[in-house]
Symmetry: C2
């Protein structure tokens, strides 16, 4: 039987799993990335841990037919990393070759959010759909576009960078240094920022009570929890979130016209209280033809999306 290694390279931890081509995980582990040791040493450590996994399962290395890696940064031609979002590993690094030299096994890589999208498309919430867009709504906003079996990874590996489409001309400053980005409004951080600015002038609400006045430790979940209790202040924040989410997603729908949108990440966990106004508001931002059949679903792969998705590169 053939097996594959799925690797989800993260800023702090790296997840590693042994899977089959159906995306079934036989065993997985997590190690510290320790990226400051450089790319070569980090990949060697990952390969050592991978071999341990195979040994535990009594799988011969010759039965490992491929290594798939999700990378925090733009990946060109499933081989070269243009730059790493948070590692000092340089530019245009051929990680494919580096890992193949270390392991002797064919290696393919792609951007980590694209990999999540691939995972949801091949094994998860969008399985069976020909065209899906997965949007990861967390600290930032990332995206991945899957059409007819392939990711739209882009000429420079930056396909699907939907978090940085501009919703407001000269708008709010984003972490990327540009202004008015989708992410600056509708990520968890964007929502917290708006909530914080409102809480400074209005403390007479359930949200303020729930967080015991500790504005600094406010999380997006607190806002959705208070809104579910009927707190008008929080409901207005959810409306704000839904509005910009609809505008950003609407723009993506008008360009791609997918069959299904998968929402993953922390903000997506809010559920109907966010999904219902989002769907309603979408009618204002996307053409009727792209909205009428659209399906919205929550991602189902969770923490396993990275290791599962990277196997999708071999299908």
């Amino acid at each position: 039987m053939n097996y594959y290694m799925g690797i989800d390279l993260g800023g702090t931890n790296t997840k590693i799993g042994i899977l089959d081509i159906e995306g079934n995980i036989y065993k997985s582990t997590s190690i510290k990335t320790l990226s400051s040791n450089g790319a070569q040493k980090t990949l060697e450590r990952i390969w050592e841990a991978s071999k341990e996994l195979a040994k535990d399962l009594q799988i011969d290395i010759s039965n490992i037919k491929g290594i798939g890696i999700g990378i925090p940064g733009p990946v060109i031609d499933q081989s070269i990393v243009a730059f790493f979002a948070n590692f000092p590993w340089g530019e245009n690094v051929n990680i494919k070759k580096m890992m193949e030299d270390i392991s002797g096994i064919e290696t393919k890589l792609d951007n980590d959010v694209n990999i999540i999208a691939l995972g949801e498309a091949k094994f998860g919430a969008a399985k069976g759909s020909r065209a899906s867009v997965t949007i990861a709504l967390g600290t930032g906003i990332g995206g991945g576009i899957y059409i007819d079996g392939h990711l739209i990874s882009g000429f420079n590996g930056a396909g699907g960078e939907v978090g940085h489409i501009k919703l407001v001309k000269d708008g709010r400053l984003c972490g990327c240094g540009q202004k008015g980005c989708f992410e600056a409004y509708a990520s968890a951080t964007g929502l917290i920022r708006e909530a914080t600015s409102r809480l400074i002038v209005n403390k007479n609400n359930l949200l303020y009570t729930i967080i015991e006045g500790k504005i600094d430790s406010l999380e997006a979940k607190d806002i959705f929890d208070a809104a579910k209790e009927g707190d008008e202040f929080s409901l207005s924040l959810v409306d704000y979130e839904a509005e910009y989410l609809a505008m950003g997603i609407g723009n993506i729908l008008n360009i791609i016209n997918p069959e299904i949108v998968v929402l993953s990440g922390g903000v997506a966990l809010a559920g109907d209280i966010l999904m219902n106004p989002l769907k309603e508001k979408l009618k204002k931002y996307a053409l009727p033809v792209v909205v009428k059949d659209i399906k919205f679903v929550q991602g189902i792969l969770g923490n396993e999306a990275g290791i599962k998705g990277s196997i999708g590169l071999f299908i």
Copy 2:
């Protein structure tokens, strides 16, 4: 030798050409569409005119291996027209089957702007590029996305409808009925609208002189012409156009990350006076990684883009 019929179905006129698979046009003609006669009769007339072309060239019908059609409306699976932008031909009409029944020849279709994008990608300004976006800047704004040999036509045939991404929340009313669309700002109509509103309060400029005070007959070309003469009033309008064009195109670049952008349509003819500020302003709206290698070119297929592009469906 094998030949193909390329058909560019327009609101008023329909262009028909006989081509080879390399996109060379052997002979072409144009007939009135007369769409009020219905789909069946119109396609029959088009087929009669096509047969005349073949007869003139002494090409046997058995050597016509395919019919490609560009359609003003969303096309699903290169077969079914969801609706026609300006014909009363109903919804979800299987034009592929209708034309195959009439002609006995395999027929494929796609949206007319997608077909232009396919033509520029296969035979025109983006030939040789793996990922291109073609933007048609005219009365409206249309677009087509070409990646690794295929168009992104979308689940409902509305892929590439870039003219209706929203640049301004609750912004200017668009012809589509929604507000704040890219098209409402940066199409020729959008530019004329802005110019008109400014001319009402400021007539002391070269543009007003050039159009002899006839604001009703103002064309986008007049604005670019006056700007080229150094008219500050018109230069400010070009700046407005470049700004919204950069925001709209920047959003597309962040999502698709293409290798090349082809600008076609009347506004694209403005040349450097528009392209130079556009490229400069793009740095504000698109991520550095998607801007650094991007190429901007003018479409080269002109009026032949439709009939040439439709042959691309058979490559």
